[in-house]
């Protein structure tokens, strides 16, 4: 990690505190996210109240904020990997999701973009590929962009990723489309992780962190064009004015919002003025999440605007294997997700 990145992150955190962006004060969160925003920041902040870079550099290994698979080292010989039901299940799941992924012919992308080491994740290696479950899902999504939007987006397109987490998808898009610009929206605590992740994975990238964004009165298209990545905390979302992004994306997070937050985003000017929407979300959010959102609520029902619609194979046709009686596991189907790419404005 460079000194510059450390300085930027410290500056982000300083402004995060000065501008009182603490997500614990955010209302209308579903219980899962309430619990996460209440508990995750302290996992990478030291007792002295400053960012702990030793914890930060392991944030993916420690599964801070968002879980991933594998959760442990599965490629090295370890007898527990053979007898533990959960570990065997994780191994099987990662093997199966690669099989599902390969059906769609995007192996070249997985070879081109092996899983980033930033955040020190446990990486699964198989058949020459390096990935995690979260990683392969984003590579699959990148493949969809190439297939359905590759010839429609301008070379310097601007994307807005709502619920970006630590930014795997925008970082992949930026590598695949080097002239592109990306606005990431999430809890500010997640954006601290995103700044670390993006700064480590793409050291040359121009990143407007929380500190820059806090100082702006508004964030328009011209401002974003000065950067590769602009990190916008959810409470500052309304600073996005005149953005008219070429692409709005949301993966599995609209479906984890309360209706109030969902409507706040889908009815917002940046979303309504976007050229394209790309989303993959649960067909029905309940009972996994405490929200009544379903596919009926998404702005995808104008058939004339659909470019792609399907049941998402990578989200829906892989299984979780939950530990059962220590040595066994139970095969559980993921709640089905849809994937949609279509036009929004005009």
């Amino acid at each position: 990690m460079t000194n510059t990145l450390v300085e930027h992150l410290n500056s982000d955190f300083e402004q995060y505190k000065n501008f009182q962006l603490d997500s614990r004060d955010t209302g209308d969160l579903i219980p899962k996210w309430r619990e996460l925003v209440d508990s995750q920041l302290e996992r990478f902040v030291g007792y002295d109240g400053y960012l702990d870079f030793n914890l930060l550099k392991d944030f993916r290994r420690k599964q801070i904020f968002v879980p991933d698979l594998p959760e442990r080292e599965l490629n090295q010989f370890n007898v527990r990997n053979f007898i533990g039901g959960q570990r065997r299940g994780a191994y099987l799941m990662l093997k199966e999701c690669l099989d599902v992924f390969k059906v769609y012919g995007d192996e070249n992308l997985l070879s081109k973009y092996p899983c980033s080491n930033a955040g020190n994740p446990y990486i699964f290696r198989r058949q020459g590929y390096s990935y995690t479950f979260r990683w392969i899902k984003h590579i699959y999504s990148l493949g969809l962009v190439n297939r359905f939007l590759g010839d429609k987006l301008c070379s310097d397109f601007m994307s807005l990723d709502i619920g970006s987490s630590y930014g795997i998808f925008p970082s992949l898009l930026n590598q695949e489309y080097p002239g592109s610009h990306h606005v990431l929206v999430d809890f500010p605590e997640q954006l601290l992780l995103a700044h670390y992740y993006l700064g480590t994975t793409l050291p040359e990238a121009r990143i407007a962190g929380i500190d820059d964004v806090c100082m702006q009165v508004s964030i328009n298209r011209d401002y974003v064009k000065n950067y590769d990545f602009v990190l916008v905390p959810i409470t500052l979302f309304e600073k996005l004015v005149g953005l008219e992004p070429n692409l709005v994306s949301n993966f599995a997070s609209f479906g984890e919002m309360s209706r109030k937050w969902f409507e706040f985003y889908v009815n917002s000017a940046p979303v309504r003025s976007a050229e394209f929407l790309f989303t993959a979300n649960r067909i029905e959010s309940s009972p996994t999440y405490d929200t009544d959102l379903t596919i009926l609520d998404y702005p995808i029902w104008d058939e004339s605007k659909v470019l792609h619609f399907a049941v998402s194979p990578i989200f829906s046709y892989t299984y979780m294997y939950l530990r059962r009686l220590l040595f066994w596991n139970e095969k559980v189907q993921y709640p089905p997700h849809f994937e949609y790419i279509g036009r929004v404005a005009g």
Binding site: E284, E303, A310, V311, Q333
Partner: protein, 342 residues
């Protein structure tokens, strides 16, 4: 009505249909699955001289004519230990447990699976049933939960893709004053005639041949009957304004877009009050049609219920004869709502 009288009636209907050219296999624009079905399945119970093979018709559920069910087959040692049969039993147990969780087992107690068509049945927790019957019990439960307060006691329900009519038959048991219009391939409706004639002895059934001779099927006509059997080719003769309920379970998703539009663009559908449907979110993984949920006339503002149908959510597949594994089945949505204004 005795079985032989019922079969004689069905034979008469078959001959009328043939005379009107509606028994033809030349129905255009079918998906491959249904083209094969319509080419092969009628021959399993209609003889070449248009007489009815009564033995086959009396066993149509055991023989899986047109519609497969679980359990199927005759039992025996292989059924007891083979992976396919054991997985089938697991599905049957899972599904019954889901019904019990939702409190719909009371309906199963009230309406046990009939033996019409001589189905192979499964016994568990004191219930005797097959999977298709459980599905229809579930749909009846859902309909009661959401629509019972909205519908008049003598409501009319149009079931498009009714198969042999078990859903309509069940609803009629629960709502005795209701009227039912069943739409499907004419050969399928002959089986429905048999099933409903047996399940509802004394019911007033307008058979396919009789209906095919009516130029305009109005509410007044429907009110004279408990069940009106309408071959799919003459669906456009329905002239019903303000029909109470249209149902479609799984079959819209097995059609191509032309047939789908033929139904949902019809005045009868568009002027109906409620729509109750369960269908695949995306058909193409199973059928050669590009239908998906975005094509359906369903809207958030008119929705009274929407969810992922719990019944087909898990499947088990035979593996190396003796074993089975869980496989993902294509997700199916369930929707009840007002028919949207166009």
């Amino acid at each position: 009505m005795t079985i032989s009288t019922l079969i004689d009636t069905i034979e008469i209907q078959t001959n009328i249909l043939d005379g009107l050219g509606l028994l033809s296999k030349d129905i255009d624009n079918l998906t491959t699955h249904w083209k094969q079905q319509i080419d092969n399945e009628p021959n399993r119970f209609i003889n070449g001289d248009l007489s009815i093979n009564s033995d086959a018709l009396c066993n149509f559920r055991r023989l899986d004519i047109f519609t497969e069910d679980i359990p199927s087959g005759q039992g025996g040692l292989r059924a007891a230990i083979g992976g396919r049969h054991r997985s089938g039993r697991k599905i049957l147990r899972d599904t019954l447990n889901m019904l019990i969780d939702r409190g719909y087992d009371e309906l199963l107690k009230a309406y046990p699976c009939p033996s019409t068509g001589n189905p192979t049945l499964f016994k568990y927790k004191g219930y005797t049933y097959g999977l298709n019957w459980l599905k229809h019990i579930y749909l009846l439960g859902l309909m009661k939960d959401i629509l019972e307060p909205e519908l008049p006691s003598d409501f009319t329900c149009l079931d498009i893709g009714c198969s042999y009519g078990s859903y309509s038959g069940l609803v009629k048991k629960e709502f005795s004053k209701s009227h039912h219009i069943l739409v499907d391939f004419p050969q399928h409706l002959l089986m429905a005639h048999y099933f409903l004639g047996e399940y509802h002895p004394g019911a007033r059934i307008a058979g396919v041949g009789d209906v095919a001779q009516v130029n305009e099927i109005t509410q007044g006509y429907v009110n004279q009957f408990d069940f009106v059997l309408v071959p799919c080719q003459i669906f456009d003769r329905l002239h019903l304004d303000g029909l109470d309920l249209v149902t479609n379970f799984v079959s819209f998703g097995e059609m191509n877009k032309e047939w789908f539009d033929y139904y949902v663009q019809s005045m009868t559908f568009r002027n109906a009050k409620y729509f109750f449907s369960t269908n695949r979110v995306q058909s193409s993984s199973t059928y050669d049609t590009d239908m998906n949920i975005l094509n359906y006339p369903i809207h958030a503002s008119q929705s009274m219920h929407f969810g992922v149908c719990p019944i087909q959510s898990r499947r088990y597949q035979s593996k190396k004869i003796w074993f089975f594994k869980a496989v993902t089945s294509p997700p199916i949505f369930e929707y009840i709502g007002m028919v949207p204004d166009v």
